[in-house]
Symmetry: C2
Subunit: 200 residues, 2 copies
Amino acid sequence: MVAERTAVEPRRDRRHARHQATKREILDAAWKMVRADGLNALSLRALARVVDMEPQSLYTYFASKHSVYDHLFADGNRELLARFDRLEVSDDVRRALRAVAHVFVTFAAEDQARYELLFLRTIPDFEPSPESYAVALEVFNRGRSILTGVGLDNPEDFDLWTALVSGLSSQQLANDPGGDRYIRLIDNAVAMFEEHMFGR
Amino acid sequence: MVAERTAVEPRRDRRHARHQATKREILDAAWKMVRADGLNALSLRALARVVDMEPQSLYTYFASKHSVYDHLFADGNRELLARFDRLEVSDDVRRALRAVAHVFVTFAAEDQARYELLFLRTIPDFEPSPESYAVALEVFNRGRSILTGVGLDNPEDFDLWTALVSGLSSQQLANDPGGDRYIRLIDNAVAMFEEHMFGR
DNA sequence: CAGTATTCCGAACAGTGTCAGGAGTCTCGC
DNA sequence: GCGAGACTCCTGACACTGTTCGGAATACTG
């Protein structure tokens, strides 16, 4: 029985590799379309056309359209997590807060559809799977740990921080997409926040 | 020719009244559905079922589904405008800012779908008509004039203000719908903003 | 080579927004 | 009161959507 299992495993793995490759191609195409036409405008038939398949074949890789969204959701969170990882946290509080805010707002401003998917509940009945949600939680915790690292461990302080940063992001996307009208305000906003938290 | 016109007018008006009444009923039903199932989940066929019509009959009152959204958009903005009108602006800066923030965040937190429709571009290809957008502009100007009334006439200050308030709103909706986790932070946020603008 | 897992597609179903055309109804001037 | 015309509503239909079923290829394994 053990032999049988070890004999089967490699086959599965190779298939799995091909499978994953195609999955990646589909997801990349989905990102492209979603960026171009909006998150809610994604159509499986159009997606299939782009990756040169019949619409039904997509179901070999994804259980449903929501599952596609789910993988995009995880993708986006992994990307944001990677950017936080690349961030070397400064000792200087203001500098650290600035860096975090800049990473987040820039990330948001880059891609309206991605922001919608990750941070707004805009697709009817979509809920991330536990696995995908775990990635999102990791992002959340990472962001919070950076904040506590500079001495902000009060949950309400963190809530105010996220409100401020997400406000800059959503306003940037809504009122000046592609521009930097609100991105320019980051330093000022961080200064305001820091003064309030630590005194002038 | 003039006689003909004046003779026709009253008839038109009475029709118009009935027409508007039905229109209102349809929009009210649409609000209900949108609140229950989400903005993007609205279906003309389901809407028709609720108002006891055939789906195609809705086209007597609205040129398209987007037109329904457009009327809801105007509805929402008129409601927000009315709340600003009911607001008596205090001489005390902090009190005034608090009141404005509270009106807005409460308005947002009440209705996720309405917030999406008014402040996020979440429906594919939807753009408010000039008439509806005019109402939105009026809301925007009203909010800004209240701010300038307390001495904040710098556009960037107003941008930071809207970012802060909309951030509280969207976080409230996303992370604690129905609760008051971020609504409770309004006073604190206003204090932070005021200190930063006017000194401690 | 035989057997099996995997990938893909053809056909179909229920749902969507929307358009064309035609009934029925209401209100008007005569 | 009658005919004209606007108005309201519906039947039928079209192209689209996500999704399921069943079978045909294909690729890999023993």
